[in-house]
């Protein structure tokens, strides 16, 4: 398939961000702190906008006849590293603020990868 490498790269980014969004949504439902809920809601909204952009990119890429070069190895390595960090995240038993910071940080790395 044409542009397979670029499509896989975007799909991996989307998968990682979807996992983060799922965790944030769970935290949002469980928190009783209104200020914290505001922060989490803001992050989920931001993630939704980012996911929308990435999914639109994926739709365009799948429809184009033009060849798009595969992402450079550094970017693939950065994304793989961020996804590995995300895999190590265990939800539920941490301090909620620490978990929030961690997820926001990993989302930032995935976004820029």
């Amino acid at each position: 398939m044409a542009n397979e490498a670029a499509l896989d790269f975007i799909t991996d980014k989307i998968t990682g961000l979807e996992i983060i969004k799922q965790e944030l949504s769970r935290m949002f439902l469980n928190t009783t702190d209104l200020d914290q809920a505001d922060d989490i809601r803001r992050e989920i909204t931001r993630l939704n906008q980012l996911l929308f952009t990435l999914e639109s990119m994926r739709n365009s890429l799948a429809a184009t006849a033009n060849e798009v070069p595969p992402p450079p190895p550094q970017r693939i390595a950065a994304l793989t590293d961020a996804l590995r960090r995300l895999d190590s995240f265990v939800s539920g038993d941490q301090n909620i603020q620490a978990a929030l910071n961690f997820l926001i940080q990993v989302a930032g790395v995935i976004r820029t990868a």
Binding site: I44, N48, F52
Partner: protein, 184 residues
């Protein structure tokens, strides 16, 4: 429309207007060649329509998915902001602000604001959906024009001794191609 399709149309017109019966036979031959080019073009357009339709459908679903997820969050953020503002005003001056009439006004205004936001968000969604629909419709129109041209050429290639009809069909084909180019 490719240049190789347009050139035979011009040749076809010249053959019919310049020569007699021999010219008519030449015109029929050119029409046959031209038909092949049109069929090729049609296949390209068919492929483009299929790809673009899939893209527009996927994109419509993507838009709907994220809008439906973000709209409740944005509404809730607005609600939270307004209630925080009202709570601050009431707690800073409880004697003046914490009255039933103020509270009722606040609830009424909040309700109106939310209604406005719903209208805004869903109005945008409707517009996005219609834009995508019109893009697909445009591709379908292009395909229809091409099919018409092909039908004309079919008739022209098969009909012998019908010079007038041939001229008319060529003129019609040229006009439809010009209209198609203008619409792109």
């Amino acid at each position: 429309m490719k240049l190789k399709t347009l050139t035979p149309i011009i040749l076809l017109g010249l053959s019919l207007s310049t020569f007699g019966c021999a010219g008519e036979e030449t015109a029929r031959q050119v029409a046959l060649q031209l038909r092949e080019s049109i069929v090729e073009d049609e296949q390209i357009i068919d492929k483009t329509i299929a790809t673009q339709t899939t893209f527009y459908e996927d994109q419509r679903k993507t838009i709907e998915k994220y809008r439906s997820e973000n709209i409740p969050l944005e509404l809730e953020a607005q609600r939270r902001k307004r209630s925080a503002e009202a709570a601050s005003a009431m707690s800073s001056n409880p004697q003046q602000e914490a009255r039933l009439s103020n509270l009722m006004n606040y609830l009424q205004e909040t309700n109106d604001k939310e209604y406005e936001l719903w209208n805004k968000f869903y109005g945008g969604e409707q517009q996005a959906r219609e834009e995508l629909k019109s893009k697909i419709a445009k591709l379908q129109r292009q395909k229809k024009v091409l099919t018409q041209v092909k039908d004309n050429l079919n008739q022209l290639a098969l009909a012998s001794n019908r010079k007038k009809r041939a001229r008319m069909l060529i003129q019609f084909s040229q006009e439809t191609i010009a209209a198609l180019k203008a619409s792109q």
